[in-house]
Symmetry: C2
């Protein structure tokens, strides 16, 4: 007898996955399904898919309640159905053709000319900060300050309206109060600007729904895409473009991040600068009146400067579109998502923050999994994975080997491997085991972890790690370092980097992550390792394994393993 269960399906097709999102409500309602041990899974699945389809085909259906559903071995039947209809439903979300999205997004993210609507000479004003960031950030395209009074802003010739600018403009950054946005947006539309970066707040989040809808109408009418409103703007480092009023940022890397929240955006910048991770882009999506996660996926999919995409989202405005696009993009580039509002309390907070509706997190879990998206469980984890995943090469098989100087680290690294879905090469093939044993003291332990023991000189780490890297039965390596006077941290780090580089030349490219146990000098060594292709952490046996685990999770979902 099943009771109080929410049915979770593993959708068989892309369409199923997409309709799952529409079917959130349906699945929620199927909580009351009753059946014996042998429930006909397909029959229940069929009901959910049909309900989803119905809800999706008829936007007039505001609510649909199947309760109870009796499921037996042979069939599933809804004993009672309640349908609430609403004949003035919201219009379906506008969804342009993919090629149009990409064309617009390319003009927005890699503009030849940027206008700043509300550019100002007055320090402290948003329009002044944006100008400073554009100029000081090193952007090499044209900058057009738009200001009704001043002839120049920060030494750059200003115009009264975008329409007065003689050249083409790709993107306009808005730094004017909410009430001036609509008319300026219309002018941007007439000027055929591809995108408006709507920094101003005072729309959806304050209950000004009409204001937001007006912007959306203008956007559609003139084919101008809207980022925001209520955002910090965006960064695209390959163009040295800081279209934002926040801190300037220019450390280049290959992860593109986005966030719905300004606070999270600032955390990305701080972490990124502190960890020297670098980014290709940081994008604020705010209240997502138009551009959302799947638009960004489409751009970053074809962006040669981006290798990994990480997104913080409080909701998905269009789950079907996201699942469709993410499923394809994640086959090419790892997609990481931090879905905030996982819990009921979090979802309720999200509702008052960005108006995100409370979705059933189990459904998000399934959809993200089916779409090949790596789900980050915390802000710091999203950041750490953003840093580590693009650095690691794709593994060619499942066999992980731990080589450690500290037996205690070996135990914890083994636990972490299990936690992160990694498989240790076990049992170690006899010849490989014998080969490892040759290098380690008799009281060390071969097997896996290979415990080389703590007192060993650098050459023991070198010999064993080299052996693991050379052997084709080993697909990934986790060296666990123990700080001793005999093998100082930087000696270990330089050796590891040298091995990985030598092996690369021989075509032996494998992911290597390292855990360092020791006094504070291990921090410098970890940073050096990280900067040279080996994600490494001091005082942690879990973090390096989480990074490796995420790379594996992606590789499996992308069909590369």
């Amino acid at each position: 007898m099943l009771k109080d269960v929410t049915f979770r399906l593993a959708p068989a097709t892309q369409e199923d996955a997409a309709s799952m999102m529409d079917g959130i409500r349906a699945a929620e309602m199927l909580k009351g399904v009753r059946g014996g041990d042998a429930v006909n899974r397909e029959a229940v699945q069929d009901i959910i898919v049909r309900v989803s389809q119905l809800v999706s085909d008829f936007p007039e259906i505001a609510e649909m309640d199947l309760n109870p559903v009796f499921a037996s071995k042979d069939s599933a039947i809804a004993a009672d159905v309640r349908i609430v209809v609403n004949f003035s439903p919201k219009p379906a979300r506008f969804r342009p053709e993919e090629k149009d999205v990409v064309a617009s997004m390319n003009r927005i993210m890699k503009p030849k000319a940027v206008a700043v609507v509300g550019a100002s000479n007055e320090a402290g004003k948003i329009g002044n900060s944006v100008m400073k960031n554009l100029i000081n950030g090193g952007y090499r395209g044209k900058i057009y300050p738009i200001n009704p009074k001043d002839a120049e802003v920060m030494g750059v010739k200003a115009f009264k309206s975008v329409k007065d600018v003689p050249d083409e403009i790709d993107v306009a950054v808005f730094a004017v109060p909410a009430k001036f946005v609509a008319s300026a947006l219309k002018e941007c539309g007439e000027k055929k600007i591809a995108g408006a970066i709507l920094i101003p707040s005072g729309f959806g989040e304050t209950g000004n729904i009409e204001g937001r809808e007006e912007l959306q109408r203008i956007g559609r009418e003139y084919n101008i895409r809207l980022m925001g409103p209520n955002i910090y703007g965006f960064y695209y480092t390959p163009s040295n473009l800081c279209a934002t009023f926040c801190t300037a940022y220019d450390v280049k890397g290959s992860t593109a991040l986005s966030s719905q929240s300004g606070g999270i955006g600032m955390a990305i910048i701080g972490f990124s600068r502190s960890a020297k991770m670098g980014v290709s882009a940081i994008v604020g999506l705010g209240n997502k009146s138009d551009i959302d996660e799947d638009d960004l996926l489409l751009f970053f999919e074809q962006d040669e400067n981006t290798k990994v995409i990480a997104q913080h989202a409080e909701d998905l405005k269009d789950g079907r579109a996201f699942a469709e696009v993410a499923k394809r993009v994640s086959k090419k580039k790892p997609v990481i998502m931090l879905k905030a509002g996982r819990t009921a309390m979090g979802a309720s907070a999200a509702a008052s923050h960005t108006g995100a509706p409370a979705g059933n997190d189990k459904i998000y879990e399934d959809v993200l999994k089916q779409s090949g998206v790596i789900r980050a469980r915390s802000l710091r984890q999203m950041l750490e994975l953003s840093r580590g995943v693009p650095i690691l090469p794709t593994p060619k098989g499942e066999n992980v080997v731990i080589i450690t100087g500290a037996g205690g680290s070996g135990v914890l690294l083994s636990d972490a491997c299990v936690d992160n879905g990694l498989k240790l090469l076990k049992p170690m093939p006899d010849d490989l085991d014998a080969a490892f044993r040759k290098f380690i003291p008799p009281f060390g332990a071969a097997g896996n972890p290979v415990d080389i023991t703590g007192g060993e000189p650098p050459i023991t780490y070198v010999n064993t790690v080299k052996l693991g890297t050379e052997d084709d039965r080993v697909h990934a390596l986790i060296p666990g370092y123990w700080h001793t006077i005999v093998t100082p941290p930087m000696v270990f780090a330089r050796n590891m980097v040298q091995i990985v580089n030598e092996m690369k030349e021989k075509g032996k490219v494998k992911p290597v992550v390292a855990s360092l146990a020791g006094d504070v000098e291990v921090e410098e060594a970890a940073q050096y390792l990280y900067e040279n292709g080996i994600p490494a952490y001091a005082y942690s046996t879990e973090l390096p394994v989480e990074v490796l685990g995420a790379k594996y999770q992606w590789a499996r979902a992308a069909g590369l393993l």
Copy 2:
């Protein structure tokens, strides 16, 4: 019908909890219990308890297999029983009286005189490093180098044997090869030294079981307690005592840590120094031939310099003793445990590292929970909790309030509260809600999280956090800071510390933890907050909440909430 389940009990009494540990094997064997929906839980429980008792009372029982056990609504019966006996079983573990443990441990941890067996003038030797650490660490008791040849070691008069030393000696640190340990240990016994710190390896971990048993016999004969073998030694900072060959360490704090692994010990030192957390003690337990976790608990229970106890363990040699002691000690001081070898792969690694047997982790989980022990899930988490838990005052109730400048952080902080078993004050009482609203802009959100919005000046953080601290319906606060030019990080940090200090004077003592989203300057602010009583983290919404959650978990288990 139940199949392939391991029965997990929530032991009702302390004795049950203890016998659970002995009953690991019994519970494992009960995997095959069969029964209908309505299994008589008490009957099955009874079987397990009886089996445990049997196994514990008759050490001759090497293995006992009840399979199958039929459980019905009314009873549970074992249909077949197989017992393997071994008439030369291991002797029961020696367990001295608690008062004797405490007396010995006090002499060991706070010695008036320390002998270094194998003290050496030769740089690079362990006996030289130990001498250096004792002298340079600032230890003010007497130091007696024991060296058969040299008249002085590092300027200190040396003796050929501990027996030649005219004064009383409390503890002897061993820095001689394994083969010389037994005879020197006997001399220590004759000298009535309370404890031997056995740094040398070459006993249990190399299969030299006889050698280890010989030391244990000598220890028992002369009533000398053994720490190790195969350890780094120990630190007790209140006495400036570094009885170790590893890095000297002297940052004082109130957490006592121990580890079975030298690597983990070094990670503790590195993290502790880097985070400026300070410790009261760091102890290496290694192969635990004698002194183990419960001996340490007994010492730290009554140690005025220790407020929190954190232990890394690969096994518990005597689960019954640990559960008994931990249950009592954890009522007074939080006990944190990182149990390594949680997973099958980890346990197998532990078996080859310290010979720790693979226990059923579910049983550990129950026993630790029943004993009021906070279980750390990772090395870094054990370290972070060691740092944060002693700083926080004990909460007086369950109502947590989040006050945030970044709505996005508020959502993630809410998720983290749920993840860590914390309850938000919801619904916010009307009068309190109205009071918060007075301080925040109209487009901010009251409720909980209180979203003060990003652009606010320092006074808004001050007013709202002060309000939360003053109101007796609020028991803990989580400020979420968003870095802006208007409210720079250090201004926020100084304000928070000032409020907490002012409130302390008014008797309003509440735990406060903070999450900081922003550019790198937030790291300095987080460090300042931490050093002034507010555990705070940059770029993380989870870590501060984990610390608060651990404090709550402890307070609940200790019956303080």
